[in-house]
């Protein structure tokens, strides 16, 4: 196995920026971004990291894969919602590369795999960053990235170990697993449940999510919905790495997170507030489609998935025009 001498990071948001700047301090690192002015600024100013690391790294950035030459490792760090256009854009390029996906949720590997025969690594990351500008990311939570060979067309375990080693040497935290799905599903259940409830109630991660006293307390909904997801995981033979309910309790009770004034704003709630497309297809929707494939009932997931899609749809005002022939009377 050849050492990893060159890396391309796709997407330079908070997570992509953290990978690019850190790994760029060790090996030749390029960045593939969507906007020309973003590429121009990165080429001119490099990437600055503050917070848990202090770094200033030079990177080569472009919006054209052809301008970046082939690399050993390609890390796709865009949002899940962008995965299809990203995969189309890299199709036919980076023929030597192993591809690592870092998206939330489930199914991004399948999309990428349709556009090239790269060996693949699945990963999930628990680190977080705050994007202050196109060229400055604050490294916020220095938690681990977990990675392993994708179970369908995976890179070798030795290669996954090498990637984890590279990430660790660069100053970030990483761990390689033979089978990353138990960890991936733990985070998936945590995210698909809490993000969708947060998006629909417009509540950040407040203590309500752990309350189970009254019938209307949100903790009951969290538990019941997680149980649906656990049944889907179990039917696939996946033993969860961590209990998502315990992850929820830990998050609510850790530091200031659950305190009303400092509650963590779920990424899906942040998207809803900004009226951006959410990652619900990759989270709650992914569990719905797995449940359907397995013939398992997941009625709460069905409902929550429909509600979040409905919220997204309500932003399109064009439904007003779609059907002018029908009246505007009252239904009650």
């Amino acid at each position: 196995m050849n050492p990893i001498r060159s890396v391309c990071v796709v997407g330079a948001g908070a997570i992509g920026g953290l990978f690019a700047a850190h790994i760029g301090s060790l090996v030749d690192t390029r960045v593939l971004v969507r906007r020309q002015e973003h590429a121009d600024r990165l080429n001119r100013e490099g990437l600055k990291i503050s917070g848990k690391s202090e770094l200033q790294t030079t990177v080569l950035a472009s919006i054209e894969p052809a301008e970046l030459d082939d690399v050993d490792l390609l890390i796709i760090a865009t949002k899940a919602t962008a995965i299809e256009p990203v995969a189309k854009n890299i199709a036919g390029h980076f023929s030597r590369a192993t591809v690592m996906t870092v998206q939330n949720g489930l199914g991004c590997e399948d999309v990428v795999a349709q556009f090239g025969d790269w060996p693949m690594i699945s990963s999930i990351t628990f680190m977080s960053g705050i994007r202050h500008s196109d060229v400055h990311i604050e490294y916020e939570l220095d938690t681990e990235t977990w990675l392993g060979p994708w179970n369908q067309r995976g890179a070798s375990m030795a290669y996954a170990e090498a990637v984890a080693e590279l990430i660790r040497k660069s100053g970030l935290r990483a761990k390689a697993f033979e089978d990353v799905r138990p960890a991936q599903w733990s985070k998936l259940l945590f995210n698909s449940v809490l993000n969708s409830i947060g998006a629909v109630t417009r509540l950040p991660h407040v203590k309500d999510f752990a309350d189970r006293e009254k019938i209307t307390d949100l903790g009951n909904l969290v538990v019941n919905m997680m149980n649906e997801g656990k049944a889907v995981a179990r039917a696939q033979g996946i033993e969860l790495y961590e209990d998502p309910w315990q992850m929820n309790l830990n998050a609510v009770n850790r530091g200031k997170t659950g305190e009303d004034d400092y509650a963590h704003i779920f990424s899906m709630l942040d998207d809803v507030r900004a009226k951006r497309p959410t990652e619900v297809d990759w989270l709650t929707g992914a569990i719905v489609s797995e449940a359907n494939k397995l013939g398992i009932a997941a009625p709460i997931h069905d409902l929550m998935y429909g509600l979040v899609k409905g919220i997204e749809q309500a932003w399109e005002q064009d439904y007003q025009k779609r059907d002018e022939r029908r009246g505007e009377g009252s239904a009650e």
């Binding site: 019938i215 019941n224 239904a331 009650e332």
Partner: protein, 307 residues
């Protein structure tokens, strides 16, 4: 004969204005909104839209001003039922009180304070234009019947129904009015919160297959509870959902209007009512529980200011 409308908002005003047209009937309106009360006393109660009425009920925010009445019609939002009837119970010491509110559970509360209770369900809708002026958006029937544990007499029920019908609010007296009430309850509990949580008008939500399926699942839970209670529904609520798509495609459900205004909703009397009666009957209602919790969560989000 005297009648008092308890809670003279949009729905209460429809009844008050129509009934005040009748000779030989003294109509009072009890409402906490002083501006609305003052406007009614100064220049009458005006209805526009589906009805064109100007009539002169007497209004007060002080129950002590109101003489004893043979009939009461409670038309507050369901979360205010207890405080409204508690403060006005003295007026109905010898009377029969009818509810025309949304949801279930209002009769039980009213029965704690007055001797005889009439179950009621009304379809007309309206909205307040300004103090003293309500626009009626839709017409429709009202059904009244005995509240079985503490019923008004059949004569009282028929008297009230004929007064309301004569005034222009078509009302049917039913030996069992639960069918109409539960049909409306199940329809509202399945459709209203979907609008409130997503922001979608009724028909647009129904066009989305996942939401349409969710509505049917919520309807099915309500139908099962009604069946366990021995209630024969007036019509299939699921068909009402489709019918409403035809006639009210862009209608924003009242709970969606509450959500847009960040006002407390009537979820406890709708989905909460189905859940509570379901528990009593041993009928599971898991999705209505989910909806109840989600709306309570949404209401909580309005009390925060971190956006």
């Amino acid at each position: 004969m005297r009648i008092c409308i308890v809670g003279c908002g949009a729905i209460g005003s429809l009844f008050a204005a129509h009934l005040a047209k009748l000779k030989d009937l003294e109509v009072w309106a009890y409402d906490l909104d002083g501006r609305h009360v003052d406007a009614i006393n100064a220049s009458g109660l005006q209805l526009s839209g589906e009805s064109n009425v100007l009539s002169y009920p007497r209004a007060s925010s002080n129950p002590g001003d109101i003489p004893p009445c043979e009939f009461g019609i409670v038309a507050t939002k369901s979360m205010h039922t207890r405080s409204a009837i508690e403060s006005s119970a003295e007026i109905f010491k010898e009377g029969a009180v009818c509810t025309v509110q949304n949801g279930v559970g209002n009769e039980e509360i009213i029965a704690e304070y007055v001797p005889r209770v009439i179950r009621g369900t009304t379809f007309p809708a309206g909205h307040m234009v300004e103090p003293g002026h309500v626009e009626q958006d839709t017409g429709g029937k009202t059904w009244v019947g005995p509240f079985e544990p503490k019923p008004a007499s059949w004569a009282e029920i028929e008297t009230l129904a004929s007064l309301m019908t004569e005034s222009g609010m078509e009302t049917l007296a039913m030996a069992d009015a639960r069918g109409a009430q539960w049909t409306k309850l199940i329809f509202n509990a399945a459709t209203n919160p979907i609008g409130a949580l997503t922001g979608l008008p009724h028909g647009v939500a129904c066009d989305q297959p996942m939401l349409r399926k969710a509505i049917s699942s919520l309807v099915a839970e309500g139908v099962a509870v009604a069946a366990a209670l021995g209630i024969t529904l007036d019509s299939d609520p699921d068909e009402l959902v489709d019918h409403a798509c035809e006639v009210a495609y862009l209608h924003k459900a009242s709970m969606l209007q509450d959500a847009l205004a960040k006002r407390a909703t009537e979820v406890a009397a709708l989905n909460g009512g189905i859940v509570k009666f379901g528990q009593e009957q041993g009928v599971p209602t898991p999705l209505n529980e989910v909806i109840w919790a989600l709306i309570k969560g949404l209401e909580h989000s309005w009390t925060r200011d971190d956006e």
